[in-house]
């Protein structure tokens, strides 16, 4: 399924990049141009294959690709440790980003495998239940400066279970530290 989603990721990535950079308008205009041409052809009673876009594929590529390439180039530069503003916002915290990527990919694979194993040995309902019980713990970890650094989240109500156990204030302080 992951393999099947790769081409869709590319297309989705292009559309999202264009949208986030406000560059979707020319593509939309291109589409509307084709609609107008199709309508006028129908009104005139002429036959012919209706097209989705007016511009040629290469022109559309010229419209779309720069944003996509920019995002990818910026992404690779970020992995290389160079902060870049080629993405959706300001400069990020790219130093050591490659470590997170390299560690996450095999762990992501292991997670999928452990998910399959749990469904195999128990059931999908059991897996969802385990995930639900894991939520407070997950929230604690995501709120922990020690793990998340400057990107730590704030503690939400779902951590109340942990809060009840060890005293909310003390826990909160521990998470902030």
């Amino acid at each position: 399924m992951n393999l099947a989603s790769v081409p869709f990721n590319v297309v989705g990535g292009i559309v999202a990049s264009l949208w986030q950079h406000g560059e979707l308008a020319p593509l939309w205009e291109d589409y509307r141009c084709a609609r107008r041409a199709s309508k006028s052809r129908r009104v005139a009673g002429r036959r012919g294959r209706s097209r989705l876009f007016c511009c040629s594929l290469s022109d559309r590529g010229a419209l779309c690709m720069p944003a996509y390439v920019r995002v990818h180039r910026g992404g690779w530069q970020c992995l290389d440790g160079h902060n870049s503003t080629g993405g959706t916002g300001g400069a990020g915290d790219c130093e050591g980003a490659w470590v997170d990527v390299v560690v996450f990919i095999p762990m992501g694979g292991l997670y999928i495998v452990s998910q399959i194993l749990l469904i195999h040995f128990a059931s999908a309902s059991y897996m969802f239940l385990a995930t639900a019980f894991l939520l407070p713990l997950q929230n604690v970890v995501l709120s922990w400066r020690l793990v998340m650094g400057d990107h730590k989240g704030t503690v939400t109500e779902s951590t109340f279970v942990v809060g009840v156990i060890c005293g909310r204030d003390r826990c909160h302080r521990a998470m902030i530290l």
Partner: protein, 414 residues
């Protein structure tokens, strides 16, 4: 490899894709494994299972004959084929009775409980670590969420592909390198190779279906990544909660598409999830509104800030819909009967009480005909690898290893 193929004798790759996977598997197979009985177990997915298991069954019944005292030799390939189809009724009544007598005992409740507990621990560790790493990666690459999505999907695909190839190629033995490690995770019980074979041989390989799965997966991921990126680290804990919306959405879609019915208790559970998300989201929005009002800026900017957070939360909720639809579609397309290799590997009995062919039958075959395969020591280790005694210890080791990794990382961070 050639020796192994010659020995199997039923090798019949149905498609070029199968042949390609098989060739790749052969490259990964260690030299020692080529001479072991596992070679044809590993090649199982690419062989004529029916013929293989039938012959094993025949042999196994021959071996059981002295023990049961019946005319077991009468159990031929036809009867075995009937058993494979799950009918269990193709033989005579005496044969059925004989099968019931020889049915293996089901795994004990304690062992099942232990296995469940260990796989849960494994899941909890992997889920916790991978989600944390995912968020860390995303916030590091916060300007490039699409790039992050792309690299994660591609990387995981490659990793899983390699894992599948190794699983197909490697004999599962706790003492052997990568294969042993993979077995330690309990992966051998999934019959990974068979699943790949099943997909490639056409049972699930409907291109439009795969494309739909890919599209939904991609759409869900993309929306989710954009929402996490848009909300920022402050709301990371909230997003893990909102992700639970998948459960009620899945229930709703399975009711609409599959006409599944749910009990009042299950509906109550879904309602609790929805109200829980509401309880978690509303204070965050109120908090955001308070922060916006206390911050400097025009009224429009403050309103925009609150509405932006609300909009991204809405995007995150919407991102659960493709995931839920994916769950429902997978449920719809995966009600597969057990495959022959599964039948050959699993213990227990079919619903009608007839025994399933087991791995021990396959091992018995190699014991009975030692000239055709590897020495007995190899067979013993193979039995241990595919048996049920090893899983608990090995899974425990794997889970502890994951915990040690996490602790090590924490210490390193400190």
């Amino acid at each position: 490899m050639q020796q192994c193929i010659k020995r199997v004798g039923h090798l019949a790759p149905a498609r070029p894709a199968l042949a390609a996977v098989q060739a790749a598997a052969a490259l990964l197979r260690p030299a020692r494994a080529r001479d072991s009985p596992v070679c044809w177990l590993a090649l199982g997915p690419f062989t004529d299972h029916r013929a293989l298991v039938s012959s094993n069954l025949q042999l196994a019944t021959e071996l059981r004959e002295p023990m049961t005292g019946g005319g077991a030799a009468a159990a031929g390939p036809d009867e075995a084929a009937g058993l494979l189809q799950g009918s269990g009724g193709s033989g005579s009544g005496a044969a059925s009775a004989r099968r019931r007598r020889t049915a293996p005992p089901p795994p004990s409740a304690a062992r099942q409980g232990l296995r469940l507990g260990l796989s849960t621990a494994q899941y909890v560790c992997c889920s916790l670590v991978s989600t944390t790493l995912f968020y860390r990666e995303l916030y590091r690459l916060q300007n490039f969420p699409q790039f992050s999505n792309q690299i994660n999907t591609t990387g995981t695909t490659v990793t899983m592909g390699l894992l599948a190839l190794v699983l197909v190629a490697q004999p599962c033995s706790p003492t052997e390198g990568v294969g042993g490690w993979l077995c330690a995770l309990g992966l051998d019980s999934l019959h990974f190779g068979d699943s790949i074979g099943a997909v490639l041989s056409g049972r699930l390989f409907a291109p439009w279906m795969l494309a739909l799965f890919g599209f939904l997966n991609s759409l869900g991921n993309l929306l989710q990544l954009m929402a996490i990126d848009g909300l920022g680290p402050r709301y990371s804990t909230l997003t893990t909660l909102i992700n639970q919306c998948t459960i009620p959405f899945t229930m709703l879609l399975s009711r609409l598409l599959l006409r599944n019915r749910y009990s009042a208790l299950q509906l109550l559970g879904a309602a609790v999830v929805i109200s829980g998300v509401g309880v978690a989201v509303s204070p965050s929005l109120r908090q955001q509104a308070t922060m916006s009002s206390s911050a400097s800026g025009t009224t429009d900017e403050k309103q925009e800030s609150t509405s932006t957070v609300a909009a991204w939360i809405a995007v995150f909720v919407v991102s659960c819909i493709p995931q839920s639809l994916l769950n429902v579609l997978i449920e719809q397309s995966l009600p597969l009967p057990p495959t022959s290799v599964e039948l050959a590997y699993t213990s227990g009995a079919t619903p009608d009480g007839s025994p399933q062919p087991q791995l021990r039958d396959v091992i018995l075959r190699t014991v009975r005909h030692p000239e055709s395969c590897a020495p007995l020591e190899t067979q013993t280790s193979t039995a241990a690898a595919h048996g049920f005694d090893r899983l608990s210890d090995a899974a425990a080791v794997a889970s502890v290893a994951v915990c040690v990794c996490v602790c090590g990382r924490l210490r390193w961070s400190r």
